[in-house]
Each structure stands twice: as C-alpha cells, then as structure tokens.
Symmetry: C2
Subunit: 367 residues, 2 copies
C-alpha cells in the first residue's frame, strides 16, 4: 500500500544529542559507534563560543610572529598546494565525563564525544617549510575565527591553542580542507581546520585563520584555564596540560541495563589510543576478576584511529553480569581500572563497565 510506504520513511533516524544548546555541543548517538568511519552528519560537535561568521571574500590564513616575513594564503592558495589524507579519530577530552563519580563540571558527555573521519588537506610541514623560522620561536599559536565571552572573566576571546615547535608532532598535522572526501562542513571548521593526530579534540582548531610563532609560552584561557588536569577547582599551581589521547575502550553492545536471553551473544565495542596502536582488548564477565581476549575486527589497526573489537559470549545461567572492557596499546599503556579523577573531568579512561541481566524463572504470578 503506497500510503504505508510513504509513512514508513517519514520519521527521522537518530541524530546528534544536544548536551548544551548555546554554544552548540552535540554528541554522536550510539548507533554511530558501530561504523568505523563516522558519517559527517553524525560526527560530534564541541563548541566553546558562538559559531563565527566567515566571509570567504576576505578570509585568509595568516602566518606571522617570529618568522622572516609574514604571509597570507587564500583558500585557493591552500586548495592548490599538495594535499595528504589521513584517517584520524578525534576524541573530546571531556568524553565519558558523564560517567565520572563524583561528577565533574562541564558538558556531561556520555561515550559519544568521539568520531573517526578521513581528513584531507595541506601538510602543516609543507606550509612551515615556506618560512624561515626564528631560532627564538618555541611555539605556534593557532587562532580560530570563533570568539566571544567566557563565564569566568571579562572580555572577548578567540579560541586559540598552541603546539610546541616539535617537528615530530608538527609533521603529522594537517590543515584540513576536506572531511570524508567532501569540503569541510561549516560546523566542523570550514574553510580550514587544524588536525593534530593523536591529540584530544581541543587541539584541532576550527575556522583557522592565523598561525603565530612565539617565544613565550602561550597562556590563553583555552590553554591555561581549560584543558588542564587539576585536582581542585581554582588551584592551578600543579596544572598539567591535556595533550595526547590516552588508551581507552568502550562497550557499545549491550547497553547499560539491557535484559538479554540466555544463549550466544556478540559483545561489541571500540578501543583507541591516540598515536599508539591497540594491541589487546580484554573482556571480563565477572566484574574484573578474570579476563579474556576480544577479537580486533577493524579494517585497519593504524595509528591515530580507533579499533573495533568483538567477543563471543555464551551465557547459560540467569543472573546479573558486569561486563567490563580494558585495552592495551603498542606503547605498553594499559587502561586503568579507575582513571585519576580531576576537577575538570578530562580524559576519563577508566575501564568501561556495563551491567546486564539474564532473567531466569518466569514470574510465579503468571502461573
């Protein structure tokens, strides 16, 4: 019946999950976490400031500071330079904050502030090779077009972050103009976004329009106040900057609280570790007493991308089961049972635990 078919397709599929409405902070829904390459329209969005207005007639990428001669590049300039493509998993450092106990301030992300996409653009090293950089320069500051006020201080701020002048790191970076083989979408930083493989999401500056070489250590608020590990709010005396992604893993099926039948089930999930490759994923069915190896099933287990895994579970007896996952990486790092708690709730890589129930006897009240 034609009416039926028409109605069937009318409802939206799952979409991004709002965690904060202004600025817009949207998390990828669970179904997205079953796809190795994250669809662009379901890739999480993390904003600190209102969306900027980009005027493409005047936009350019300026390079200045401790270099011999500053310079500006138009979109066409970048478009006509050599390009590289890289799959990079980007994770918000606040991912899994909502699972912390005690809770930490900030957007209460569950497990979906992460995605894996193909980024294409100009190698940062190609751009930097055009310049004679002063021997005094220690950092590059990357400035986004987005700006606005912060709740904790007066004034207007651009989103800006620096990286150390370390060629191993900078050689990996890309000024991305494309995401998943299409022009970078506006909400993901069009016209140009910095990709810093292996680092948490805050480093991947969107709406990029300026690179500045500096002698001084950059102290902007998105670097010195946000994105630091601190034990207590307002005590920055021992603040340690948030940088590379820590080894981590999650169970994507079953979901927390799920009730499943006795029988054979495939537990599924993801593991990732920034630059390191995932070498081992282990599952515990008894709340961490004993562990078994899961199978790594990703199409590729390369650096900078997540790895999918699965585990065949034959469950015969009714009861409550605590499924727990932990991962190990090629640098020898192992996911901790309990990540060190920090006041801003970054980098929660505690073992991921999901409680499921296998019901037993039918309720007597039914006869």
């Amino acid at each position: 019946m034609s009416e039926f078919t028409q109605l069937e397709t009318r409802l939206d599929r799952p979409g991004l999950i709002p965690r904060q409405l202004q600025p817009e902070n949207l998390e990828s829904p669970l179904n997205t976490l079953f796809s190795w390459q994250t669809p662009t329209d379901l890739f999480y969005l993390r904003n600190h400031l209102p969306y900027p207005t980009i005027d493409m007639d005047t936009w350019n990428l300026q390079i200045d500071g401790e270099v011999a001669g500053s310079k500006s590049y138009s979109y066409d300039d970048l478009y006509n330079m050599p390009h590289v493509s890289k799959f990079v998993t980007i994770e918000c450092s606040g991912n899994k904050r909502g699972l912390l106990e005690p809770p930490a301030l900030g957007e209460q992300w569950n497990i979906g502030a992460i995605g894996n996409a193909k980024w294409t653009g100009v190698p940062l090293s190609y751009l930097l090779d055009q310049f004679e950089i002063s021997a005094l320069a220690r950092e590059v500051v990357f400035k986004g077009c987005d700006y606005g006020s912060r709740p904790d201080m007066p004034g207007q701020f651009h989103f800006e972050r620096s990286l150390p002048l370390d060629s191993n790191l900078l050689d990996e970076c890309i000024i991305a103009l494309w995401m998943n083989d299409e022009p970078l979408p506006y909400k993901h930083g069009y016209p140009a976004r910095l990709i810093v493989p292996g680092w948490y999401g805050m480093a991947h500056v969107k709406w990029l329009n300026k690179l500045t070489f500096t002698q001084d250590k950059f102290r902007g608020p998105f670097q010195a106040i946000d994105y630091v590990y601190i034990d207590n709010e307002d005590d920055f005396s021992k603040a340690v900057p948030v940088t590379e992604i820590k080894v981590n893993s999650i169970i994507t099926w079953p979901a927390k609280g799920e009730v499943i039948k006795p029988g054979v089930h495939t537990i599924r999930g993801i593991a990732w570790a920034g630059k390191a490759r995932i070498t081992e994923v282990e599952i515990s069915l008894d709340n961490g007493i004993s562990w078994s190896n899961a199978r790594l099933t990703s199409p590729e287990h390369s650096s900078y991308t997540w790895t999918f895994w699965e585990y065949t579970w034959t469950v015969s007896f009714p009861g409550h089961y605590f499924l727990t996952v932990r991962a190990k990486d090629s640098f020898g790092d192992v996911q901790p049972k309990q990540a060190r708690w920090n006041a801003k709730g970054y980098a929660n890589n505690s073992h991921h635990r999901v409680e499921v129930t296998v019901p037993g006897i039918p309720a007597p009240s039914l006869q």
Copy 2:
C-alpha cells in the same frame, strides 16, 4: 559566497537518541523539550518487540469477547466515524530511570522519554456504544500487531494491555488515526493507536488490531511482569500495577554541569501530572532549603498536557548552585523529594536537581 551557504545547511540537526537498538528505543533530545507541541519526528519511541509488518489489505480492528456479536472495522470504517482531537502528554513510565540511585534495570532513559502531541481519532466510547457488553465483562484487552519473544520466558507474545471497564476512564480514550494533524506514522502505531489520557505510555497500545472484553483479570507479561511496582526483582507478591502519570517536573535549562556567568538568567522547565493540572511549580536555589514560585507559561494548562514554566534568577555571587524543581497539582499531590525506589525503575518523580557553577576569580595562572 554560495558554497558557504550550501555547506551551512548540510549538517543534520539534533535527532532522537538511541537507548536500545533492537528493539528500537529512542529518546527525545533536549532541544525538543522547549517546544510545547512535540514535533512528530522527534517524539520518543519505546518498543518492546520488533516493528510489525502491517498489511493494510487485511488489517482491521476486531472487537470480541464478552459482547453480543463480535465485529471487525476496516480503516475506512474508522476513518468515516466521528472524530475528536485531544492534546495528550505521553510519558514512558521508565522516563528518568537513568537518574535513579541505585540504578534500576531497563533502558536508561534520561529526561526525554516524554512528548506532547495532538491525537485525533474515534472516541473509544463511540465504538463501545455499538456493542451490548455482557454484565460479566470486567476488562477490555487491547492487542497490538507487534509480537516476538521475551528474554525471560519461552514463546512468542503480542504486546497486549488491559484497562478496567470504567466508563470515566474509557470515555477519555481515543482510537487515534492522526498525530499532530497528519496520519499516524508507522513507528507510532499506524494505522491505529490507543490513547489513554493521563496514563503512562505502556497503556497507549500501538498497531492496535483487537479489543477483547473479558471476565478474568488480564495477566499477560506486559501487564503482570512488566509495568508493576515491586521492591525486589522476582518478588511479585506485592506487585502494584503502573497506571496513571504521577506529578513530575524537570529543569531543561541550564543543563547539568553548566558553567554560567553572574547576571540575570531564565531557568526553564516543564511540569506535568497526568489528569491533574499543574497548579504550582517551585524552584530552590539552595538545594531544597528555601523555595520560590516559578511562572507557568504554557499556552494552556489543561488536563493531560504538560505545562512550561520559567523563573528569573539573578545570581551575583560565584559558587556552585543546586537548582531544584518540584511541582504541585490540582489533586493536591506534591512531587516527593525522593520517589520510592522500585526494582523496575518506574515513575521516577523525585525532585529534579541540576548543579551549575558560577565561576569567580580568574585563575591566577593567567595573571
């Protein structure tokens, strides 16, 4: 620049949030909770069984059991009967289960397993008036086309629920063919869905195809095992059925963990109470020590629909604030500080509390 405009509109807006993939259980996202009438494509979906196949060439609504002469109605028959429209807020009885402490089994709904829509269709009383019902009949059983297995017992089951033969209740019910002035979407129960104003969602049987008048109390698993208040799993000796929606309210802005500036803010939220009207919403800014009245701002404060409210908050001092909301209804019921915990996690109407932070002094490390 035309390319820019094109890109800007490409990303999906927020969508439904998957809580369980099979059967499909999707929650309304936060942005939906700012609209008095819930858009159909963002209305939450709660399924117990796989989606049924509906063959409209053979589908009909059968009425049998303790009546003089059973009968079947085609879609056209129902289409040509008198219709009524009613705005009804439907809430899943598991809404807010994810906020329970200790956790309870089942889909971990946050605050979005609720929606308010306009339902149009045949008054159930009009249909029942066509029949001479036996004096022995005590209940009507409503059967859906959806069927499948359950994790807790062998066999296949249709989704079926009964209502008592109480004319006050049945007179309110609608066999809905339309939702928000459009034909009922397939995923919301096309061709016909029972609407039971004031009751939790499980009573609103989708894909309805049979009404049976019975002498016996109906004991199907979706009535006798699910949707009962019990203190301990598997002890059904004192089970009390889940029926009418309890007085409840939530804060929709700010979100949990939000960091906001000193100044004047509008706290926003929703309150609802099934058949009763919301008469008062109170806000506490000090974790329940003192309370102030919020303004009720809905276009209508009718029975069966939710009420929107807002509260102007002038905050001058930095600190952590526990914003708490509670509602009172026209039956005199007041939302409890802590709802009685039950093993299946139904009807969580505890005060809703959101912790927010107003930051103070800029961090000294910034100078």
